[in-house]
Assembly symmetry: C2
Homo-oligomer: 155 residues x 2
């Protein structure tokens, strides 16, 4: 099973986002876990690779199951672990292999183009300290067809 | 990849533990996640099946990677998500298919026979509010040969 760990880094009311070239959608930097890795080691390694930055004291805020459905069948399933951090060290890469890095003002994050489920995740984690758990069901062209978030709304 | 979700239920200074028949080792009740399930739905379902109890507001406290090593190779890898709850509803099963259920006084939990890594997990979660992340490496006969916990000690 594919597993992804990423981190919402929020500093001075800006969030570091990565604009992926394919659809122009924004994501929190991160990437695929490697065999044998735990989720915290994974998010630190992946964030550094994509941005050049070492996140400090990342804390897990969201744990999600994603299902990609094709003709009523599960074509793919993966998990995503979303951390939150408010401090870093290091220098931001000028060029990332994965897309364009951008410090986005917090109140503009939700206006960026992104996967619908990711928008719900940003909404939660940027507005609540509570951990969130959820399941998202997508079509193979990334249209969100079902979601179940717990808690269903930020406090 | 095998994924397990379990919960430390602590009520009136007692912890509900399950004594597994094979080695007589104690564990926090829980079990294997099903395809498509998210970790919170999974822990609620599994805990109910094993104990008869519905845990209230379980919160994720520990996320772990386990590796079973055989002749320098990874024979198996799985993840475990350990929740914590302090309230429940329902009636405790008199007989569980999985072993003997027992309310253990908090100060006796660490004295019970159990996997060494599980002891570290109980120690952390019963003494700190902080989330913990870690990797445990076992032999195929469940001898702990390496561990990496983050944070390495409860606050």
């Amino acid at each position: 099973m594919q597993r992804v760990a990423n981190c919402i880094l929020r500093v001075n009311e800006h969030v570091l986002m990565l604009k992926k070239p394919r659809r122009g959608w924004y994501v929190a930097p991160g990437g695929k876990m490697e065999p044998g890795e735990n989720i915290k080691d994974s998010v630190s390694r992946e964030f550094k690779e994509e941005t050049g930055l070492s996140i400090q004291n990342p804390e897990l805020k969201g744990s999600f199951t994603f299902i990609m459905r094709e003709e009523e069948q599960t074509a793919q399933e993966w998990m995503m672990f979303t951390f939150y951090s408010t401090a870093y060290s290091g220098e931001l890469l000028e060029v990332s292999d994965e897309g364009e890095l951008e410090w986005v003002p917090v109140d503009e994050v939700l206006k960026k183009p992104m996967a619908e489920g990711d928008r719900e995740i940003f909404k939660h984690i940027l507005s609540s300290d509570e951990q969130v758990y959820g399941t998202f069901v997508y079509t193979t062209d990334f249209r969100l067809i079902d979601q179940d978030l717990d808690p269903s709304r930020p406090e």
